[in-house]
């Protein structure tokens, strides 16, 4: 029979309580399940089933490369900042090198390596 060791006590010998905590465990789980179903009545009955797995396998999906690059740009805050002059009319301003967005900085070293 496999032995269950309760993990909460520390530093002392732990007495074995085989069957009793199991029923308590299960009712706690079922209570949590009831809570969840109350919040999300449309939750499917097969939690580990294909929906969840397929979502996991789809990780990182974008519409296309443009979508990906836009998402990356927003994350790194590299989008060209709108000109400070609010009165500026599009087309009137000829960009100079200073106006262009900064190149992404060269790869930064890990902070663990300091």
């Amino acid at each position: 029979m496999s032995e269950d060791v309760e993990g909460v006590q520390t530093g002392e010998e732990v007495a074995e309580e085989p069957k009793e905590p199991e029923t308590k465990m299960i009712s706690m789980e079922k209570a949590e399940e009831a809570k969840l179903k109350a919040k999300y009545p449309n939750l499917g009955s097969k939690p580990g089933g294909s929906d969840f797995l397929r979502k996991r396998l789809q990780k990182g999906k974008y519409f296309d490369s443009g979508d990906y690059n836009m998402a990356k740009a927003t994350k790194n805050k590299q989008l060209p900042v709108a000109s400070v002059e609010k009165t500026e009319i599009t087309g009137d301003h000829i960009p100079t090198p200073q106006d262009l967005p900064q190149r992404k900085p060269s790869l930064v070293a890990s902070k663990l390596a300091v």
């Binding site: 993990g7 299960i26 706690m28 209570a31 949590e32 580990g48 397929r54 396998l57 990780k59 663990l112």
Partner: protein
Amino acid sequence: VAGSNRTGAGGNDVQWCFSQVKGAIDDDVAEADIISTVEFNHSGELLATGDKGGRVVIFQQETENKCQPLSRSEYNVYSTFQSHEPEFDYLKSLEIEEKINKIRWLPQKNAAQFLLSTNDKTIKLWKISERDKRPEGYNLKEEDGRYRDSTTITTLRVPVFRPMDLMVEASPRRIFANAHTYHINSISVNSDNETYLSADDLRINLWHLEITDRSFNIVDIKPANMEDLTEVITAAEFHPHQCNTFVYSSSKGTIRLCDMRASALCDRHSKLFEEPEDPSNRSFFSEIISSISDVKFSHSGRYMMTRDYLSVKIWDLNMENRPVETYQVHEYLRSKLCSLYENDCIFDKFECCWNGNDSVVMTGSYNNFFRMLDRSQRRDVTLEASRESSKPRQVLKPRRVCAGGKRKKDEISVDSLDFNKKILHTAWHPQENIIAVATTNNLYIFQEKVN
């Protein structure tokens, strides 16, 4: 050998002390700095970390006082390099993260060190070598490399090697790409030192370390119709001594042991390890929390350990129908499963590791707590990796979580736990009582207290 009777024991005898912490102190953590893997090499002299930004940092144990077993050795930066870069798969419109999922060291064969690092799609073999001499005194070149004016050369000068400041260079020697449709979760070097396996959600491939344009598929659990998909591969590892044996774990809490001598495609397992469960006890969460996030063979090769959401189980390879030992990591979370599902924490993948003599196992938890489970003495302790307990050689105090009812002094209640502070990755030195514990963006090194 002095000190050998102390190695490995982790029960009441061993007190853990803070040794070092690496990484930034500030609370604003950049995503790239999130540590995603930690691994000692076979001698324990080197400690590698990988992060979400695709970078690898290797620390080396200083050898100055090796002859004095009671001295404390520190780990200092040895090498750091960019292993993987972000990519975009244009055909499938899928982002390929540069995050390093796993690092595995090769046993050392010569002066150089080799490791395998992998992201979701590509495995790379890196060579880390030292250079401490350089040739000086070229006949035709100046020291800065410019060629001398040949008309000024009147004598012959033969270059000699002179010592220089140690330089550690990392270079990619092999790139194993395009073999995985799904996300790689594990790599494992075979004991034959010639092959290794890589596992993704649905398939496991066998590679030869020298050959990058070919790999053999040895496990394929992809169903003919993806609608029928109910289970994925979560981890895989080669047996430490038997080069024909490997195991893989699943999201349904099963472990399959396969023998490559039986057939070329190991879809049919040799052994299936599964703990029976009463179907009437199943809840919505049962399958999710039974998903195995890590599987590790013991050093002896006789046992394997699995980690699921709430527990650590030790299996005897000779007994398939149930584990021989089960340890609760944080049982108090069972009454919080609803909120842990809502904040996605229930899907966190914790790893686990053995100490050098397989007597103690370690795994992480929340609130920057980690658990040491002593198999031989049937004791366990909860410790914390925090800046507050980071004075040199400060002994770590055991932590207690109050599951409910009256909270005693020094206990922390379940509701006060910080679920953003997760310890997913830990590593234990192969011989000594030195452990590396990764919090979100810091690496803590703890050592056994030495009197």
